[in-house]
C-alpha cells in the first residue's frame, strides 16, 4: 500500500533551543540512563557485590563488580559516620555519608587502601588513570530512617512515603573526564559500552543505587539480629538515586556546542520519523496507550513543593486526562493516516509546552527500532580547526542566518546583562552574580555567547570590509573565540541555547533541566531558579533483573501496588 508523502520536518532550533523549551523537556528513549540499562540487558552484564565489609552501623567498605563482555568495572564504596553539623548537599560540603570511586578493572588491596585515603577527600584527593569516576552521596534521612526502622520491625515501609521522596541517597557530585587526575575520557571512549556520552557516570549512579538498597537491608538486619524483613523487590525498584544539581552543570551546555547539537538533533530527528509514519499498528498503539495511562499516574505521584512546577504538573494532568478520555471514546483517533503527526498537531496549539514535550517522550517509546539507533551518533570529540581563509562577509552571512536570535537582543539595556557567571573560590564551582551589585565581574566566565555575537556583528558591520579572518583578527584578537565559534558551528542548528543566559529573565534551572532530561532524570524538584533535585533510575531493573525481557520498560515509574 502506498501513502501520500508526509515527511514531517524536524522542529526548528528556534523553538527547541529556547530556554522555555529546554526547561520543559522529559527523559526519552535516547536518554543516557535508558541507553545504559538497555546495553546492560543486551550485552548480558553481570553485577555482583564482591565485598560488603560494613559494621553494624553501616560504616566500612563495599565493592561492586560489573562484568561486561570485554571489561570489568568496580565501584568502591566507602561509608562513613557524618556529623549532623556537617550535613549539607551543597557542593561546598567537606563531609558526606558515603564516597565512591568507579575503578577500571578489579582493585587490589593497595588500590582500595589508596582510594580510601583519596576518595574520602573528594576534590582534595588525587587520582590515577585507573580511577574513572569520583562521587559522593548523602542519605535522605527522612526516608532512610523510615525504611530501616520498618524493615527492622519486619515490616515493609509505607509506599506513599517511599514514593514521596523516591530515593534513599542522593549524589551531590559525579566527577569524571580527568578531574583531579581521574582518567581522561579519551582513555576509554573507544570501548563500545562507554562511547555514548555519560555512560560511565550513569553506571556509577546505578551502582550507588544498588549500594543504597543493600545498605538498608544490612542495617535492618544488624539492628534486630536477623529478625528483620528485606526490602520488597517492587519497592526497591521504585527507589532511584537522588541528585542535587546546581549551576555547575549549566556552562557545560555552552562549552560543548556540537555535542549538544547531536543530542537535540537526534531527538528531533526521532520525533520527525515517528510523526512521518503513515500508520500505527495495534501493538504500537497499545504501547502508547499503556504509557499514556502510566505517565498520568506518574504525574499524580510527582509531589513537590515548588509552586510554579506544581501548577505545570496540574495543567499536564488535565491535558493528559482529556486525551485519555478522548482516546477511550474515539478509537479512530490513532487508526487514521499519519496518526502520530495528527496527534502532535492536535495538541501542539492547545497544550502547555511541558505537556507537548511529555507527549513527545511518549511518542518515541513504541518505536525502539527507529529511535534507539539514533543514540549512536550522540558523542562528539572536537577535531575541527579554525579556517582563517574564511572572509568577514562570509562570516557575517552565517551570523545573520544562524544567530538572528542573538541579534534581536538589545544589549544597550542593562537588564540584558544583569548577571555574570564566574568560578567561586569555594570549590572552584560556577556561580552567578548580579553584575550591578556584586564583586567579581572582571573574572566573568566566557559563556556570554549572545552578547559576543552581538559585539562581533556590530564590529563586522562597522568595518564594512571583506577580508580574510586571518587579517581581520590581527586587528581584533579579542574576537577570535567568537569568530571561531560561528565558523565551527555553521550548520549545527541545535548547538546554541537560543537565549541570553546573562539576562535578567534567564532562569538557569531551565538549562539544567535540558541537560538532566538527557541524563534520564525524572521528578524534577526545583528548589529555586538556581538548583533542583531530581531522581535517576527510579523504576529501573535491579542488578539481578537486567536479563528480564522487560528491562527497558521503566520510564515514568509509578508506585507499585503492595498486597
Amino acid at each position: 500500500m502506498s501513502y501520500p508523502g508526509n515527511q514531517v520536518e524536524i522542529r526548528p532550533s528556534t523553538q527547541v533551543m529556547r530556554l522555555e523549551h529546554l526547561g520543559a523537556t522529559f527523559q526519552t528513549r535516547l536518554s543516557f540512563m535508558r541507553r545504559l540499562i538497555r546495553r546492560m540487558h543486551s550485552d548480558d552484564w553481570k553485577i555482583s557485590c564482591d565485598e560488603f565489609d560494613l559494621d553494624n552501623d553501616g560504616y566500612g567498605t563495599a565493592i561492586y563488580a560489573v562484568k561486561t563482555p570485554n571489561n570489568i568495572y568496580s565501584l568502591i564504596c566507602f561509608s562513613h559516620y557524618l556529623d549532623p553539623q556537617n550535613r549539607t548537599d551543597r557542593v561546598i560540603a567537606e563531609h558526606w555519608d558515603s564516597t565512591f570511586t568507579l575503578f577500571d578493572g578489579i582493585p587490589t588491596r593497595s588500590d582500595v587502601k589508596r582510594l580510601r585515603e583519596q576518595t574520602t577527600k573528594q576534590e582534595e584527593g588525587r587520582f590515577e588513570s585507573t580511577d574513572l569516576v569520583l562521587s559522593r552521596a548523602n542519605k535522605s534521612l527522612r526516608l532512610f530512617d523510615h525504611v530501616v526502622k520498618s524493615l527492622a520491625r519486619n515490616q515493609q515501609p509505607d509506599p506513599k512515603i517511599l514514593n514521596s521522596i523516591g530515593y534513599l541517597m542522593r549524589t551531590t557530585a559525579v566527577y569524571a573526564n580527568g578531574k583531579f587526575g581521574l582518567a581522561d575520557r579519551g582513555l576509554y571512549s573507544s570501548r563500545p559500552e562507554l562511547t555514548p556520552p555519560y555512560q560511565i557516570e550513569m553506571l556509577t549512579v546505578y551502582l550507588i543505587r544498588e549500594f543504597s538498597l543493600d545498605l538498608v537491608d544490612h542495617l535492618a538486619k544488624c539492628s534486630t539480629e536477623n529478625r528483620s524483613a528485606k526490602l520488597d523487590r517492587n519497592l526497591k525498584r521504585h527507589l532511584g538515586m537522588g541528585n542535587a544539581t546546581g549551576l555547575g552543570m549549566a556552562p557545560f551546555l555552552v562549552q560543548h556546542p556540537i555535542l549538544i547539537h547531536n543530542w537535540f538533533e537526534a531527538k528531533e530527528s526521532a520525533l520527525s520519523m515517528v510523526r512521518s509514519l503513515p500508520e500505527a499498528s495495534a501493538d504500537k498503539i497499545g504501547v502508547f496507550n499503556k504509557l499514556l495511562a502510566r505517565s498520568y499516574q506518574h504525574l499524580s505521584e510527582w509531589n513537590i513543593e515548588d509552586k510554579r512546577q506544581k501548577e505545570k504538573i496540574q495543567i499536564m494532568k488535565t491535558e493528559l486526562s482529556l486525551l485519555i478520555d478522548e482516546l477511550s471514546h474515539n478509537s479512530q483517533l490513532l487508526t487514521i493516516l499519519y496518526p502520530w503527526d495528527n496527534l502532535y498537531k492536535r495538541v501542539k496549539s492547545t497544550w502547555s509546552v511541558e505537556g507537548v514535550e511529555l507527549l513527545v517522550a511518549l511518542l518515541l517509546e513504541p518505536y525502539p527500532e527507529i529511535v534507539d539507533k539514533l543514540g549512536d551518533s550522540l558523542d562528539y570529540q572536537d577535531n575541527i580547526i579554525f579556517d582563517p581563509k574564511q572572509t568577514t562577509q562570509e562570516l557575517l552571512r552565517v551570523i545573520e542566518q544562524q544567530y538572528m536570535w542573538a541579534l534581536k537582543i538589545n544589549f544597550d539595556q542593562p537588564k540584558e546583562s544583569q548577571y555574570f557567571w564566574y568560578y567561586s573560590q569555594e570549590k572552584n564551582e560556577p556561580r552567578r552574580g548580579n553584575r550591578y551589585s556584586e564583586n567579581g565581574v572582571e573574572n566573568e566566565m566566557n559563556i556570554t555567547i549572545a552578547r559576543d555575537i552581538w559585539g562581533l556583528w556590530k564590529t563586522l558591520i562597522s568595518t564594512n570590509e571583506n577580508i580574510p579572518l586571518s587579517h581581520f583578527l590581527i586587528s581584533h584578537p579579542d574576537l577570535r573565540h567568537i569568530c571561531r565559534r560561528v565558523q565551527l558551528l555553521t550548520g549545527y542548528a541545535y548547538a546554541e541555547i537560543q537565549d541570553n543566559i546573562i539576562s535578567e529573565a534567564c532562569k538557569p534551572i531551565d538549562i539544567l533541566r535540558g541537560k538532566l532530561s538527557f541524563f534520564g532524570a525524572s521528578k524534577f524538584d526545583p528548589k529555586s531558579d538556581l538548583w533542583t533535585r531530581i531522581t535517576l533510575c527510579q523504576g529501573a531493573p535491579l542488578r539481578d533483573e537486567l536479563s528480564h525481557q522487560q528491562a527497558d520498560d521503566w520510564c515514568f515509574p509509578i508506585t507499585p501496588a503492595m498486597p
Binding site: P84, R87, T88, D89, I92, S129, N138, L141, R142, I165, N177, G178, K179, F180, G181, A183, D184, R185, G186, L187, S190, A244, G246, L247, Q381, N383, I384, I385, F386, D387, P388, K389, Y422, Y423, S424, Q425, E426, N428, R431, G433, N434, S437, E438, N439, N443, N446, P468, S470, L473, I474, P477, D478, R480, H481, I482, C483, R484, K527, S528, L530
Partner: protein, 245 residues
C-alpha cells in the same frame, strides 16, 4: 622564569587538567579568550604525544605577566614580519602563535612557491613551534613547515602531519632558548583542511609534570576565582536548603 623555582618532583595529571589549567592561566593574565583556547589546544596536542612539557607554557605566561613580553606590531604582521611593538620587550609567543598559524593556513593557495615568516626576539620559541606542529596535523599531505632559530644557535627542524622533527638540536635545547629570532619557511600548498580522525590520537595514561611549575600555574588560574560574599551565600544555589530531609 619558573624553572628557577625550587622543587622538581613529578606529579601525574590528566590531559583535561593540563588543558584547563593552561587556558585559565592564560585568561588570568589578560590574554583574549580565543588565544587562550589556542594555547590550551596546543598543550593538549603535545602532551597527548608525550613530547611536551608545560615549562615553555609556564615561562611564556610568566613573561607576559611580568611585562617582559608583549604583542606584535600589527602593520608589519600583515607582511609576515612579527616584531614587538616596543624594543624594550620581547615578542610574546603566546600572543603571536595563533596569528602566525593563521598565516600558514592561508598560504593554502596552490601557488608553486615558498614564503617566509620572520619572528623577531620571540620570548619562548618552543611555544611557537608547538603551535605550528599542532596545525600541521590538519594540513596533511605531508606539507612541511621548516623553522630555524637564529642568533648563535643551530637548532632547526620541521613540523609536518602533527609531528616535530629536529634537523639539529633537541627538545632539551629548545626548552632553554629564550628571546631569539625565528624564521619559518612555509610552502604554498593546496589541500582541504583535514578533520583528523581522533581515533588515531591516543591519550596518555601517565602525564607527568613538574609539581612546582604546576602549582605556580595553578596560582595564575586561581586569580580567576571570585571569593564568596554575604550576597552570594544568601542567593547562591543551595541556599536555604534543608539538608536533613
Amino acid at each position: 622564569m619558573f624553572s628557577d623555582y625550587p622543587g622538581n618532583a613529578l606529579m601525574r595529571v590528566s590531559l583535561n587538567e593540563i588543558q584547563t589549567l593552561i587556558f585559565k592561566a592564560c585568561i588570568s593574565i589578560g590574554l583574549p579568550v580565543g588565544i587562550s583556547q589556542d594555547a590550551s589546544q596546543t598543550a593538549g596536542h603535545v602532551f597527548s604525544r608525550h613530547i611536551g612539557s608545560i615549562q615553555p607554557f609556564a615561562d611564556a605566561i610568566f613573561q607576559l605577566d611580568s611585562n617582559s613580553s608583549g604583542p606584535f606590531d600589527a602593520p608589519d604582521a600583515f607582511n609576515g614580519i612579527f616584531r614587538p611593538i616596543t624594543t624594550s620587550k620581547a615578542l610574546s609567543s603566546l600572543y603571536t602563535t595563533p596569528t602566525v598559524c593563521d598565516q600558514i593556513l592561508v598560504r593554502n593557495n596552490n601557488c608553486n612557491s615558498h614564503s617566509s615568516i620572520a619572528l623577531r626576539n620571540l620570548d619562548i620559541p618552543a611555544v611557537m613551534i608547538f603551535g605550528i606542529m599542532f596545525i600541521t596535523r590538519y594540513i596533511g599531505n605531508d606539507v612541511c613547515i621548516s623553522w630555524r632559530i637564529e642568533q648563535n644557535t643551530s637548532i632547526n627542524g620541521l613540523c609536518s602531519n602533527g609531528n616535530l622533527i629536529f634537523n639539529r638540536g633537541s627538545f632539551e635545547e629548545l626548552y632553554t632558548i629564550t628571546n631569539k629570532s625565528v624564521s619559518l619557511d612555509v610552502p604554498n600548498y593546496n589541500s582541504a583542511l583535514n578533520h583528523f580522525n581522533t581515533d588515531n590520537v591516543t591519550s596518555s595514561e601517565t602525564l607527568d609534570v613538574d609539581s612546582s611549575t604546576w602549582y605556580l600555574l595553578s596560582e595564575y588560574s586561581e586569580r580567576l576565582l571570585v571569593p564568596s560574599s554575604d550576597t552570594s551565600r544568601m542567593t547562591g544555589a543551595g541556599a536555604g536548603t534543608v539538608d536533613t530531609d
